[in-house]
Amino acid sequence: MAEVAEPLTDYSEDGVDLTLIRWFLSFTPAERLQFLQDQIDDIVAIRERNASR
């Protein structure tokens, strides 16, 4: 009999990824701010590299 794979995701009924929330909640507010800044910097850099598209 085939082994049933353990589900390694956790979504709420309305489709929110709870693993992402739990991971983000493990950060301090200062780390959350830095994470957001890093994301913004990355997105801006990608946009600049693709400015003509």
């Binding site: 709420s12 309305d14 489709g15 929110v16 709870l18 992402l20 929330i21 739990r22 991971w23 983000f24 909640l25 950060f27 301090t28 507010p29 200062a30 959350r32 701010l33 830095q34 957001l36 800044q37 994301q39 913004i40 910097d41």
Partner: protein, 168 residues
């Protein structure tokens, strides 16, 4: 544009002893919600002494209105004491100074619903709590606000579960 823009804005306001509460998407992030935002939204105290502290900070930040940036319109005392919204850009990025939010909620109204957070470099700021952020977005009911609500609600649930978990 200088690095560390979000923290730079908060550092400038804090160093100027400006009384403000972070709201909006950044408040959601600081409360642990995994969402993206590109500006700093704050509700400032419209008390005359606070406006007097805020104006030189805005001058140092080279704050101008984002609408018609070529005119380089600067926020003045008369605008900052109003309950309206000042959508500015500074050398650290977008900064929205909000006289009131939701149903005319002012800094004084929101203060009991804010928490103090350390955002690095010893900078301590007040941030709107998640419960109030959700309540205001539910009231506003705009498309953008509704879109963020599921993540905010689930984040609040997870935070409550964490607070009920005994510390090891």
């Amino acid at each position: 544009m200088p690095a560390g823009r979000l923290l730079g804005t908060l550092r400038a306001l804090s160093a100027g002893n400006v009384e403000f509460i972070v709201v909006g998407g950044l408040a959601a992030v600081l409360n642990g919600a995994p969402v993206n935002t590109y500006d700093v939204d704050v509700v400032h105290s419209r008390d005359a002494a606070n406006i007097a502290r805020l104006l030189p900070v805005l001058q140092d930040l080279d704050a101008i209105y984002r609408i018609q940036p070529e005119r380089r319109l600067r926020p003045t005392e008369s605008y900052l004491v109003s309950p309206g919204h000042q959508n500015l850009k500074t050398h650290f990025g977008a900064l929205d100074l909000l006289g009131t939010i939701g149903r005319n909620l002012s800094y004084e109204d929101l203060l009991p619903h804010s928490v103090e957070m350390d955002v690095g470099e010893g900078i301590r700021i007040r941030v709107l709590d998640l419960e109030t952020l959700i309540a205001i977005k539910e009231e506003l009911g705009g498309e953008k606000d509704r879109a963020m609500l599921p993540i905010l609600r689930r984040t609040l649930e997870e935070k409550r579960k964490l607070s009920q978990t005994p510390q090891q």
